[in-house]
């Protein structure tokens, strides 16, 4: 098993190298100049040359990629073209996306398992059809539409929850009143949290109420797929020989479910969750855009040119760091999922 894990991780390193190198290569292919980020859209050629030297993009791709790898080995993600320390940027953004993804996944499973269970137990009845219709419609509903509608209902009309922004998981002190230019310091602080006002109420509540709608949107995005998959799996399992044996020995349906079926269901769920990690990042980009959450998705969008300077291409160091983290997450979590799958179902053999 250790050999298996090592082989998988080695393969993972190859994947990470391929993906990050692609990030660098695509950047080389794009005929745009990041020097515009430093000097604005009206930069002169000589200014651009100085800027390129400063950003290090005048050297060959091999040199650039080599120094990127060297920095990574030393645990340093580098500095973005806009001059921000990426270690700090990502340390700030990862908890937001982490809470969104984990909270959304838990919420989704809390809804998906009961729905699938009811639907599978009552297969063929109107409840089952209802769940089926819901899942087809759910797949067809656009995540942006779901997000905007939820936001409008609960944020605007009912005024129950904030419309967007994020409050950190710690106390934000009262705003200093001194004005700074046009914006007060309080207002500057607000803009750092994506429009949320994090002063006043106790921080756990502020943090919680800002994450409710994003997590719901995220959960609804994945819910239909999981309900359908789990339902299929449950209906299949209920006819399996080992379930028939258990039933013949007099086990109640509840006991069958708890003692025997949960393995099948958990295995399927874990396999699907592992496959969907890439999709989760995509969903996080949508959700973070709708609710103005300062997470990894927003960071990626900003790095990809939401700075408005399309002449500049994308922010290579930021993108490389994000690609690295996402690829590493995919590799590690998939390996974990495969190991868990063999624990749950001994019939599965490890093979890479």
């Amino acid at each position: 098993m250790i050999a298996y894990v090592l082989r998988r991780l080695l393969w993972g390193v190859v994947v990470i190298v391929v993906l990050t190198f692609t990030t660098f290569a695509v950047f080389q292919l794009i005929p745009y100049n990041p020097g515009y980020i430093l000097d604005g859209p009206d930069a002169t050629p000589s200014q651009l040359q100085v800027a390129d030297r400063k950003l290090g993009v005048d050297r060959s791709i091999w040199h650039q990629y080599g120094s990127f790898l060297w920095r990574i080995v030393h645990g340093n993600l580098g500095t973005s073209f806009t001059g921000r320390r990426l270690n700090a940027e990502l340390a700030a953004a990862l908890p937001v996306t982490g809470v969104l993804v984990i909270g959304g996944a838990i919420l989704m499973l809390m809804l998906a398992v009961p729905l699938a269970l009811v639907s599978a137990r009552r297969a063929g009845t109107w409840i089952d059809h209802g769940v089926l219709v819901f899942s087809v419609f759910g797949i067809a509903l656009h995540p942006f539409v779901v997000g905007v509608v939820l936001k409008q209902i609960f944020g605007q009309y009912l005024d129950l929850l904030p419309l967007g922004g994020y409050c950190p998981m710690h106390h934000v002190g009262p705003a200093p009143p001194a004005p700074v230019g046009y914006l007060t310091a309080a207002e500057l602080q607000v803009s750092a949290h994506g429009g949320a006002n994090c002063h006043g109420a106790p921080w756990p509540w502020l943090w919680f109420e800002h994450m409710v709608l994003p997590c719901c949107t995220f959960a609804l995005f994945f819910l239909p797929f999981y309900v359908r998959m789990l339902r299929t799996r449950l209906v299949e399992s209920w006819g399996e020989p080992w379930v028939v044996v258990a039933r013949a020995k007099g086990a109640s349906e509840a006991r069958i479910l708890v003692r025997h079926l949960w393995r099948a269901v958990t295995g399927t769920t874990i396999a699907m969750l592992a496959l969907d990690i890439g999709m989760a990042v995509t969903a996080a980009i949508y959700v973070e855009t709708i609710y103005a959450l300062p997470g990894v998705g927003r960071l990626a969008l900003t790095a990809l040119g939401a700075n408005g300077l399309t002449e500049s291409g994308y922010d290579l160091p930021t993108m490389a760091a994000i690609v690295l983290l996402v690829a590493a997450a995919i590799v590690v979590l998939n390996t974990l999922a495969d190991l868990l799958a063999t624990k749950l179902d001994p019939r599965i053999e490890l093979s890479s």
């Binding site: 005929p31 797949i139 936001k151 990626a300 399309t310 996402v326």
Partner: protein, 333 residues
């Protein structure tokens, strides 16, 4: 395929979805120019009185003075033109015509991207599944990689930067920007058909007719072309429908993330994001001095959302019912 088709015809929901899709295609590609002629104004024409003075678009079934500027002030004798579904936003364009022409763009992009995805998936799947060995290992790894990694990041990077360069390629009949979106989405979605095709080919290559063909001296390419391809048609049609549904979603999402189409190309995703964008702006409650004088109309959000929703539902249902009829045929065979 025969009995599968019969089974589909006995499935009322699937047939309804197929009927809706036929109607939709007719409405967008034939109905749009007809409506254009009948109403007498174009989808991108601005009407000063398509909105009220606070830029709220007029509601459905309104007669609007037929003039682009506010002056001369309309009188009782001013020629008026009909907005069947009202106006689309602050610019005061016709919502119905934009929906119909936007449908063309959306269907072109989703359909073209699906074809491209199926083509790549078919080649990768058949070659990998049939030849096995190193080729298969490399192709399978590539498939896993593309499927697992959020390529949206790369699609956005390419779309926002070099998209502008390939936007001009129209092949003579496409709107500007359509081709680049087709390529981006197609390259984004091929792993799914590739996996399906590969697993089918793995099963097919062990069958007697392939062995017989090989025995009489047929080479790999010929076996794939003449013996395997006919067996893959059904499954490709099923997944074409399902992928098309997914591609409509993706295309709209790309529009909302500001990739691809030029501002003046009618498109459902763009229509939705136009309102979504203004929605975001309008909903700034803590708003640091962001006061927005414009008013919104609920119609301009409902119509494109409904069009997208119905189209995606129709393709998803058709795909599901095609799959069921195909599965039943295989179970019977």
């Amino acid at each position: 395929m025969g009995s599968g088709w019969q089974r589909l015809r006995r499935d009322p929901v699937g047939m309804a979805a197929a009927g809706f899709i036929v109607l939709l295609v007719l409405a967008c590609f034939v109905g749009a120019p007809v409506a254009h002629r009948l109403l007498g104004h174009g989808p991108l024409q601005y009407f000063a009185y398509g909105t009220n003075d606070r830029q709220r678009p007029v509601g459905p079934w309104t007669y609007v003075p037929n003039q682009a500027s506010s002056y001369p002030l309309p009188t009782a004798h001013t020629k008026k033109t009909l907005f069947v579904l009202g106006a689309d936003g602050p610019l005061g364009r016709d919502e119905l015509l934009e929906l119909l022409y936007g449908g063309q763009t959306t269907l072109e992009i989703a359909g073209g991207a699906t074809l491209l995805a199926l083509l790549i998936g078919f080649v990768v799947g058949t070659v990998g599944g049939f030849y096995r060995g190193t080729v298969d290992a490399v192709f399978s790894r590539a498939t896993d990689l593309v499927a697992a990694f959020p390529l949206l990041l790369f699609v956005l990077a390419i779309g926002w930067t070099i998209g502008a360069r390939i936007n001009e390629v129209t092949l003579g009949f496409l709107q500007p920007g359509v081709l680049s979106l087709i390529v981006m989405i197609g390259v984004f979605t091929w792993p799914y058909p590739a996996r399906i095709v590969r697993s089918r080919v793995l099963a097919l290559r062990e069958q007697e007719f392939v062995e017989a063909a090989r025995m009489v001296g047929a080479r790999g390419g010929r076996i794939i072309r003449t013996h395997l391809t006919p067996h893959l048609g059904g499954v490709m049609v099923v997944y074409a429908s399902l992928i098309l549904a997914a591609n409509v979603v993706l295309e709209a999402a790309l529009c909302m993330l500001n990739v691809g189409l030029q501002p003046d190309t009618p498109d459902w995703g763009a229509m939705l994001s136009q309102n979504y964008g203004t929605l975001l702006f309008q909903l700034q409650r803590t708003g640091q001095g962001l006061t927005v004088p414009t008013e919104q109309s609920v119609w301009t959000q409902v119509f494109p959302a409904a069009a997208l929703f119905l189209t995606i539902v129709a393709f998803a249902i058709l795909g599901e019912s095609l799959r069921r009829s195909l599965d039943a045929r295989e179970a019977a065979a």
